[in-house]
Amino acid sequence: MIANQRSLILHAGLIVILFALQFLLPDYHHTNFTSIMVLATYAMGYNILVGYTGLLSLGHAMFFAAGLYGAGMGVYYLELHPVLAFILGSVAGLLLAIAIGLIALRTTGVAFMIVTLMFAQAAFLVTLYFNDITHGDEGLTLTQAARGFDLLGWHVDLTNPSQRYNLALALFLGALLLCLALVRSPVGRVLVAIRENEERTKMLGYDARRYKLLALSLSGLLSSAAGAAYVLFFGYVGSSFAAIPYSIYPLLWVLLGGVGTVVGPVIGTLLMFYLIEISRDHTSSYMIVVGVVLVLLVLWFPKGIAGTIRARWWGWIP
């Protein structure tokens, strides 16, 4: 099918460009792109929930932070192998998502937004409360030695920019493939149906709550995997990662890039990252950019970039 070929070219092209960029980018942007790929993975995770089931979460920082703390504390206290720590962090987020989902998915709409906000705020406060273990805002720093490991006869040093870049790319590729597979799967079709008309979907024989729980679990898993990778790549985790801004960022990235598109979250993350970086150079009030962009998007650009492209020109974008 033509649409499938185009979609393959688009997404494969994106990966090839990201791979090639590592040889072209100067150091500063090289590190930035490593961050962007990890954060875009977080955004894709967020998008699974909002884009494909229509549930807006205001509390995804708790899943991102579960990955950061799960992996970070695994390395810091248990001296885990980084690969194991990555798995530990990801699973922590998955379990948290399942637990939150069982409770929060009884609500929809505005109530769901507030419930997730409250749970995330409680999680943030927990990281402060257990200051002895988490060191609160000061956080935990992982040593270079703890971030190196051998795997299948290959020595990996997560402080090495090039290895870090390619591992971030691998994570991003995995997330992209997962999202593409989900969109084209029977589950993806049902999720879209739930977003469009939940009542009708139930009357077609689907237990909507199971599907929403699955979506939230996958969403939490990708978010925590991104968090786990982030702490291993950059060696630091602190309470600020669990605070409200880290729940607002993915919302912003996904809204800007295009809700319910596979490629949108990456575009949104890339643009917002640089927009914030550039304004940070000029003012300490750089967060005003977040506010302005949110208001503008809601008022005049609700479909975001990829969503508008899909609606106007390329209907085949998944």
Binding site: P186, R189, V190, N197, R200, K202, L204, G205, A208, R210
Partner: protein, 244 residues
């Protein structure tokens, strides 16, 4: 063993009884019409059968089993399928995807949530459902862009693709042209060869042409039941419903 039985089925909304103690027996293979004035509780009654509305009291037996406590999606899997009074297709999806949602459900019965049914089988089943209602050529069109009559037919195709044993049609001919109504009656007769049909309908010509038996409801209660001729002859019914 009766096919579907309701026993003293009752539903009240905040003190007002919408449906009061309705007993109904459906035989397998029949076409049953439920008629009655607006506000008689017809939609609430069939909604309790489909599971959209929980009964306040009473019981529902389907193929000899008590299904009163079953959730709506589980009833769909047992073969009780409801088509909405207000057309409720997925407007932003193609006709194919609308019907594929039903097909996928009936092909994945009892399987894991991520089970992927054979695409060829899905295609065949979707095509078959769409061709039964005459929409095969519009498979790729967005459901929201279909004419109103075609949307009603798509709604029926979605129901058919679920392989219903009991198909509940809630005012299916409302808003259709005369030609469309005639085609629709033919379709319902075809469907009834493989499924029992429960029909809420205001158009008396359609009721007379299709139904084997008629149930009349008024003020949430069962007023009369009988063959079309008996009902036409019943004075109570005429007073309540036909307004003479």
């Amino acid at each position: 063993m009766t096919f579907l039985t309701t026993q003293a089925l009752t539903r009240s909304f905040g003190g007002i009884q919408a449906v009061t103690g309705v007993d109904l027996d459906l035989r397998q293979g029949e076409i049953r019409a439920i008629i009655g004035p607006n506000g008689a509780g017809k939609t609430t009654f069939v909604s309790m059968i489909s599971g959209r509305v929980e009964p306040s009291s009473g019981a529902i037996l389907f193929e000899g089993e008590d299904i009163t406590a079953l959730r709506p999606w589980d009833r769909v899997l047992r073969g009780i399928v409801y088509t909405f009074q207000i057309t409720s297709v997925f407007r932003n999806l193609s006709c194919f995807d609308n019907v594929a949602l039903s097909v996928q459900r009936s092909l994945s019965k009892g399987r894991a949530i991520w089970h992927r049914p054979d695409p060829i089988e899905v295609q065949a089943a979707v095509d078959s459902a769409l061709s039964r209602v005459g929409l095969l050529t519009r498979s790729a069109e967005l459901a929201g862009e279909l004419s109103y009559g075609h949307q009603r037919l798509l709604e029926v195709a979605m129901g058919l693709a679920l392989q219903p044993k009991l198909l509940i049609l809630d005012e299916p001919t409302q808003g259709l042209s005369e030609q469309e109504i005639a085609d629709f009656c033919r379709l319902v007769k075809e469907i009834s060869a493989g499924a029992t049909i429960l029909l809420i309908e205001h158009n008396m010509d359609v009721v007379m042409e299709l139904s084997h038996r008629i149930t009349v409801m008024n003020n949430g209660a069962l007023l009369a039941e009988g063959s079309p001729d008996e009902i036409m002859a019943n004075l109570d019914v005429q007073r309540a419903y036909l307004g003479t």
